[in-house]
């Protein structure tokens, strides 16, 4: 009898023994490692910086929505989508500042990429590397990518908070002015450029080169109209280490296809792949492609949420080539009603079945090998190509009063398009700075239409700063009749951010 009682109590005590208690409750996560167990080896550092590139594949950025913020908002495109709220965000009718697809997704994307870069910049310096140069290159890539995203944040919202350390959930950063954001971009690029290689080896093509950093640095200076600094950045390509490394490809169309990627004209290119035909996100095997073409394809082929303004067609047709034909660039820029008549090309295998005044973007479409689109396009997006560099250099030289020197760079671009040298076609310009500037704007439009540079261009040229200048833009794109000077030159900060963070104030007039 007593034995039984003692045995029962003994078992009871055993099971409730406090020594095994602690271990019982410490259940480790068998699914993945924790942040404490990471950032210890060289491999961790490499993986950490690779993860930043993965943000290119998310909807808010160059996988989908940023083309709406840049190409459709500018006077190159517009939206006639039946999803009216989406279309409203391309024509300055901003009602709900929290709209995910119209505003918040891109904001969130940019800050997630910055968070990933900050993780690398904070943790990698503590890792021991057998080759310290490799560590520096990883840090340089993180700086480049952070600057890349702050550049676009500056272009879109201007007065954004600068987050430069890894985040905690309760962080409420202070807002910065546009000048401060530019300063940070310049700092990151200036530090990154000398460390990044002039060229990467085969396996690492796609990572930013020294030229990519210098090109973005030049863009940053140009947006601030600091022409002198811009010139010294661009000198890299003509008199510096980058000289002779870049050239224009003979066939314009090779800049927009997957069959000719990372060519000699490419300065910085986002590497897309169709290896995972799955949704985008952070799960295993997520999409590494781009949706751009699915959203910009004509009605009945894709969503047709974005269409092209047609004023550029007349621009192209106003000048014949040296052989008397049409500018080939028009062929590869737009799907438009006379495409078949002018160049013999059908649109995704169809003859024109849409409006007589309609057009769609052709760049990055895959109509060259298929008759439909999907969400997994493998065509790399050329963020900067050498033609852009040439035209930037010409613009900078012109602004510095060296108009005569600027001609040769424009002519390289025109010559690829088989056009006459500028001085012959437009003899009246001479060395007149403002005439040259106006002409250069059009040269830029013809070369870089729908390549997501125009919104920054319009801002830089001051074309959105006064009522009369905006009216001129409105003649090309009537959406600009909704444009309010002093307001729509920047996007509203997502309202949830303003409500949540007392250190943020909404952009003016919103």
């Amino acid at each position: 009898m007593k034995n039984i009682i003692f045995k029962a109590i003994f078992i009871f005590i055993l099971i409730s023994g406090s020594s095994c208690e602690k271990e019982l409750l410490n259940v480790d996560n068998p699914n993945t490692i924790t942040t404490d167990q990471f950032w210890l080896t060289e491999d961790d550092a490499q993986k950490g910086v690779n993860a930043i590139y993965h943000m290119f594949y998310q909807n808010g950025g160059f996988n989908r929505w940023i083309y709406f913020r840049l190409d459709l908002t500018s006077d190159e495109g517009f939206s006639n989508s039946p999803w009216v709220e989406l279309a409203d965000w391309t024509r300055f009718q901003y009602v709900n500042y929290n709209m995910w697809e119209g505003n918040s997704n891109t904001w969130a994307n940019i800050y997630t990429a910055i968070f990933r870069a900050n993780q690398v910049l904070a943790n990698v310096p503590n890792i021991e590397f057998s080759d310290p140069a490799k560590k520096e290159q990883i840090l340089a890539q993180a700086k480049f990518l952070r600057a890349f995203y702050y550049y676009y944040a500056a272009i879109l919202w201007e007065n954004v908070p600068l987050v430069l350390e890894p985040s905690n959930p309760d962080d409420l950063p202070m807002q910065s002015t546009l000048e401060d954001v530019w300063a940070q971009v310049e700092k990151d690029l200036t530090e990154a450029a000398p460390v990044l290689p002039v060229q990467w080896d085969e396996a690492n093509v796609g990572r930013p080169t020294r030229g990519a950093a210098m090109a973005f640095l030049a863009k940053t200076h140009m947006q601030q109209r600091d022409w002198t600094s811009a010139k010294s950045s661009l000198d890299y390509f003509f008199t510096g280490e980058g000289a002779g490394k870049y050239n224009l490809v003979p066939n314009y169309r090779d800049n927009f296809r997957h069959t000719s990627e990372n060519n000699v004209e490419s300065v910085f290119e986002i590497q897309f792949s169709n290896a995972n035909q799955t949704p985008e996100g952070n799960g295993p095997s997520s999409n590494m492609g781009t949706n751009r073409a699915q959203f910009f394809a004509p009605r009945g082929i894709g969503w047709s949420d974005g269409q092209a303004r047609t004023w550029i067609i007349n621009e192209f047709k106003s000048e014949k080539t040296i052989t008397g034909g049409l500018d080939e660039r028009l062929r590869y820029t737009l799907f438009y009603p006379e495409l078949e008549k002018d160049f013999g090309d059908k649109t995704y295998g169809r003859s024109w079945e849409w409006g007589a005044n309609e057009a769609w973007f052709r760049k990055y479409a895959r109509d060259y090998y298929r008759n439909n689109e999907d969400y997994y396009s493998e065509v790399n997006f050329r963020v900067i190509r050498y033609a852009d560099i040439l035209l930037m250099y010409a613009e900078v030289l012109n602004e510095l009063g060296q108009t005569a020197q600027a001609y040769q760079y424009v002519n390289q671009v025109r010559s690829r398009a088989k056009l006459q040298p500028l001085a012959q076609a437009y003899a009246q310009i001479g060395n007149n700075q403002s005439l040259f500037r106006e002409r250069l704007k059009m040269e830029r439009a013809k070369e870089l239409y729908s390549e997501s540079v125009r919104w920054a261009d319009l801002k830089r040229w001051g074309d959105l700063e006064t009522e009369e200048r905006v009216d001129q833009v409105a003649r090309r794109d009537p959406d600009f009749n909704n444009f309010e000077v002093g307001k729509h030159i920047r996007l509203p900060i997502p309202q949830s951010e303003v409500l949540l963070n007392p250190n943020l104030t909404q952009n003016p007039n919103y």
Binding site: M1, I4, I5, A8, F12, I15, L24, L25, N26, V27, N29, P30, N31, T32, T34, T35, D44, G48, N50, A51, I52, H54, F56, P82, W83, V84, A87, N96, Y97, W107, A108, T112, I114, V163, P166, S167, N168, P169, D170, E202, G206, E261, N262, Q271, F272, S273, Q277, T278, N282, S285, S286, M288, Q294, G302, W303, D374, Y375, E378, S496, L500
Partner: protein
């Protein structure tokens, strides 16, 4: 299927119960209730010209992106099968007459099988091309329980004392593997898909695990003197693996006392059969969150393409932030109550005042997007809330006769207030709500509407105190918004707090009657005073989308000015804003939750067949509802504590009819 058994020998008893269930569900794809309304009535359900053979919008005559719900249900086929075994075994030892030791072992396991076949075909205009694909996952969850209790039970004259000491250990885990393939094989003659994962190409596979441990110690004392003075005290010490390492343990005491005044010698009112005064105070802990919310983890799934040959290279980074110091969510409940029984407990009455404070609610709270957080907001001890109110119950029972009946009415009032918010915040904005310290949780924060403009004069005369026309671009038939801050513009700063989703009171009514083996039961439930947001209507009544509208909707026109629906204006979102009080409605309702009629077959008949008792019943649930709410169902659930009154179109509660058969032997 359920089997229970029990046996004893001497001081030793043993028993078990086991239940086995298997359920297979054909899950719903899409949201058919909303889809059915959106698609234009001129579009046929079937259209052989479309891939998949279903009708949807087209560019020429019906330009809408609405989804064909029949197409989705067919082309996106989901099934879920769940097989579950639940059982426990217990052994009881009674070494002494007043001492009982019990060991309880419980085990539950459940196997889930989910399959999704995406057939080739489209359900919406301009949808991207998708080949046939199959996705399957199999999961197993297991839960084991070990419980030790020692009970001391003794009666000393009029004193009855029970003491209990116990300890429980629970281990819960879950594992899943999944796989998918694309371009699966389709029989060209019959159209059948072979959705086994050996078919197809582009394989993807994955899996994950979950695990948690809960450990508890508890002690209880129950004391009863002559059924007149009652005391009950409990102390619990709970530990969970789901909280931060420093905060795993929590201590939760409770005590309650009651005084049955009607048992006192000095109390002799013959018609007052029961009078009891009671009070209680108790703490309970909760940690109903996922297993590792306190842990910052590394996501190793990102891949990027690099190099001329597009090699896939992997990356790793932190995606979701975490709060490492998560602590127990504590519910402290204080009750003071009075129970009254009259006329031999035929009439009963209860009045109770309660204070229910929940401290450190564990839930997700929105954080700034500038943190770069993805994968869901991190769980945090988000809020401390207090609920106070009264609860009254009155009942009448007539028993012991041929015709018995009873009725009980229950009324609960509630006042809700936030006492603290996580991250040291003063307010949290979530969706269309704001939660502020000192006020109820989740108040509606929207633009206020003030009728429609009837003509151009009204538009131009709508000015602020400085004479600035507030909505200069408005047309007759557009909504007039209140310019609450008087600045002459309608912006987000004009939003105001307009009510909340908490009911003023809730009502329950239980009625029953029985006569000669028949028993009728009726349960009513009602809620009054909540303001809810009619999410589905905010989607259906928007004219800025090419979709169908609800029958009888009357937008403003100059011939039809007497309406509250604004001008139907395609191509702008101004009249369809979701963040206005247009969509707020009174969510009060009264519902017949349960009605049943049961017949107990007379023992004489049933014993002849070999059973000891048997009962036949028919019952119905949610049969009648009285409400002014125009949405799908006023009794909906939104698990987001900040947005509990937002009806996002949850599938309404089903009206159910059941027939039951119960045997005992």
């Amino acid at each position: 299927m359920r089997v229970n058994s029990r046996g004893s020998k001497g001081i030793f008893s043993i028993g078990e119960n086991i239940a086995i269930t298997n359920a297979k569900a054909d899950e719903m794809s899409g949201n058919p209730i909303l889809d059915v309304v959106r698609l234009l009535p001129t579009i046929p359900v079937y259209d052989p010209n479309n891939p998949g053979g279903y009708g949807y919008g087209n560019e020429a005559t019906g330009r809408t992106f609405a989804t064909n719900p029949v197409a989705v249900a067919d082309l996106d086929d989901r099934t879920n099968e769940n097989f579950r075994i639940r059982g426990n075994v217990f052994a009881e030892l009674k070494p002494l007459e007043f001492l009982t030791y019990r060991l309880n072992l419980g085990y539950e396991t459940s196997n889930d099988h989910y399959a999704n076949l995406r057939k080739q075909g489209n359900w919406s205009l301009n949808q991207e091309f998708q080949p046939g694909s199959a996705n399957e996952n199999r999961a197993r969850s297991q839960s084991s329980l070990v419980e030790n209790t020692l009970t001391f039970n003794k009666t000393f004259g009029k004193h009855v004392l029970t003491l209990l000491a116990g300890q429980t250990y629970q281990n819960i885990n879950y594992e899943q593997i999944w796989g998918s393939k694309r371009n699966i094989l389709q029989n060209p003659a019959t159209g059948q898909y072979y959705s086994v994962l050996d078919q197809g190409n582009q394989p993807q596979t994955g899996g994950f695990e979950r695990a948690a441990v809960i450990l508890s110690y508890l002690g209880r004392l129950e004391y009863n003197y002559a059924d007149r003075y009652l005391l009950n005290a409990v102390i619990r010490r709970d530990g969970t693996s789901r909280l931060g390492r420093e905060n795993q343990w929590g201590n939760f005491p409770s005590v309650s006392a009651a005084w049955r005044i009607s048992e006192e010698n000095f109390f002799q009112l013959p018609w007052l059969s029961d009078l009891k005064l009671r009070a209680s105070y108790g703490k309970l802990g909760a940690s109903n969150i996922a297993d590792w919310e306190y842990l910052g983890i590394i996501n190793t799934f990102s891949t990027i393409a690099l190099g001329q040959t597009e090699q896939i290279v992997s990356g790793a980074t932190q995606v979701r932030l975490a709060n490492p110091n998560l602590r127990w969510e504590t519910l402290t409940q204080t009750n003071i109550g009075l129970d009254l029984g009259l006329l031999n407990n035929k009439v009963s009455f209860t009045a109770e005042y309660y204070i229910s404070d929940t401290k450190d609610v564990l839930t997700e709270v929105p954080i700034a997007m500038t943190t770069g957080n993805e994968g869901g907001n991190p769980v945090v001890n988000a809020a401390s809330i207090s609920n106070k109110g009264f609860e009254f119950t009155a009942g009448y029972t007539e028993a012991g006769k041929a015709f018995n009946y009873y009725g009980t009415l229950n009324l609960t009032t509630l006042r809700n207030k936030v006492s603290e918010l996580g991250y040291g915040r003063n307010n949290i904005f979530s969706g269309n709500t704001v939660t502020e310290v000192g006020r109820p949780i989740g108040e509606w924060y929207v633009l206020e509407t003030d009728g429609l403009f009837q003509n151009e004069d009204e538009v131009q005369n709508y000015k602020n105190s400085n004479g600035r026309v507030i909505q200069p671009d408005a047309q007759p038939g557009d909504i007039r918004f209140k310019d609450n801050n008087g600045d002459g513009m309608i912006t987000n700063d004009d939003k105001a707090v307009v009510g909340n989703a908490w009911a003023d009171y809730e009502l329950g009514l239980n009625l029953g009657a029985s006569y000669k083996g028949f028993a009728l039961t009726m349960n009513w439930f009602g809620s009054h005073g909540a303001t809810v947001f009619n999410g589905p209507r905010s989607v259906m009544d928007r004219f800025d989308d090419n979709s169908n509208y609800r029958a009888g909707v009357q937008p403003w026109t100059s011939e039809n000015p007497n309406t509250d629906v604004p001008r139907a204006y395609y191509a702008s979102t101004l009249n369809s804003r979701g963040d206005t009080d247009r969509w707020l409605e009174d969510g009060s309702f009264m519902r017949l939750k349960y009605l049943s009629l049961a017949y107990t077959i007379p023992a004489a008949i049933i014993q002849r067949i070999g059973f000891s008792n048997a009962q036949v019943s028919v019952a119905g649930q949610n049969l009648l509802t009285f409400t002014k709410y125009t949405g799908l169902d006023p009794e909906f659930n939104n698990s987001n504590i900040f947005e509990r009154g937002y009806d996002y179109g949850a599938f309404p509660n089903l009206k159910m009819y059941t027939v039951g058969l119960q045997f005992g032997f």
